[in-house]
């Protein structure tokens, strides 16, 4: 990957990648691995970008796919590990300097993998159509799903953030 490609095509969208990777990882080490893997996959798959969607939308989709794949892989290896030892339950929950964001992320991590993706895209102000397109679902039920997720988040965060 050339430095030019990284600085011009990835770095302006690094914030998106960071936000997504943070939602699917519990440690700094995993986060850095996920971030690097997403960057690598963007570089490797750049020729598959067909300009039907925006570059940023494509980055969202790819980042989510990479994170979900890595999560699936790590779950499989955790399963093997847990047969011989207890999994490490220590979580990095204070990765952002803003405490409210930390609380919100902790709540988001309690959602299902797909719900995490949906709410992240919603918070990034993507339209229902864009969310449906990125997730690969029908846009009709996105609104209902978001409403349900927000209620769940509100319940988790109730009293924690003022």
């Amino acid at each position: 990957m050339s430095i030019d490609f990284y600085t011009s095509q990835i770095l302006p969208y690094a914030g998106i990648i960071v936000k997504i990777c943070r939602a699917y990882t519990n440690s700094e080490e995993d986060f850095e691995d996920y971030y690097q893997e997403v960057c690598l996959q963007i570089w490797k798959s750049k020729n598959n970008f067909n300009q039907e969607s925006e570059w940023s939308t494509w980055i969202y989709r790819l980042s989510l796919n990479v994170c979900l794949t890595l999560l699936k892989k790590s779950k499989t290896s955790e399963k093997v590990k847990s047969e011989i030892q207890q999994p490490d339950l220590i979580e990095d929950s204070n990765v952002f300097q803003n405490e409210s964001i930390n609380q919100l992320y902790a709540a988001i991590k309690q959602l299902s993998e797909i719900d995490r993706a949906v709410i992240l895209l919603y918070l990034e102000e993507k339209t229902y159509e864009e969310i449906a397109d990125i997730i690969g679902t029908n846009s009709n039920n996105i609104g209902v799903r978001i409403k349900r997720i927000k209620e769940r988040l509100k319940k988790i965060l109730d009293g924690k953030i003022n």
Binding site: M1, Y6, L11, Y35, N98, S100, I101, L153, I161, N162
Partner: protein, 212 residues
Amino acid sequence: MEKSIETIWKTGFIEQENLIIPRLNNLYNQKSIHIIDKFKRMFKYNHYYIYILAVIHLAIGIVLGAYLAGTVMFLLLIALTIISRKNMKLINQINQSDSSYDYLKSFDNYLKGIISKLGNFYQVFYPVYFGFLIVGFLETNSGQVALTKIMDNPDTVVYSGLPVIWLSSAILFLIVVTIFSKPLFRLDLKTVYGRIMKKLDELLADMEELRQ
């Protein structure tokens, strides 16, 4: 007043320091470690498999009365494991503190070296293995019955106590096996390690492209 999650998100990420972008370094570090670990695991399981195979050969030899063939094939398979294990220990000589690319490249060179060495060994292994498979057949009751039957035929031409047609067929077969031992070894290798070796090649190709 309680903030909405939208407000938390917006205000939280207005501060840029909340989005610390990690540095990209040693991109393929984890992948290199994973792929080499996988190779090591596969080598280990392959050794166990050959040990079991050796014992099975010995057991079948004893049960069928093919003592010589059973013992030789057992020893041959054990020799294969010993040579393979000895070569495997050389992995530890690869410097793990090298960069991912150098580490993987050293491993690739090591693998090519091993394949070349084992290829030479298999040039002996296959003919001996198949040769003693034939000997084993002759040692068994069925082999003896078949041999007696053909020997009873007055038209059978005999050399060194064996029918010439059998002897020449066996020699021809072993010559073919010797000639094709290296392709046979490569096929064997491809069946067991083909997928992971392809992954290693792809990884190295990616890393070489990255370095350009």
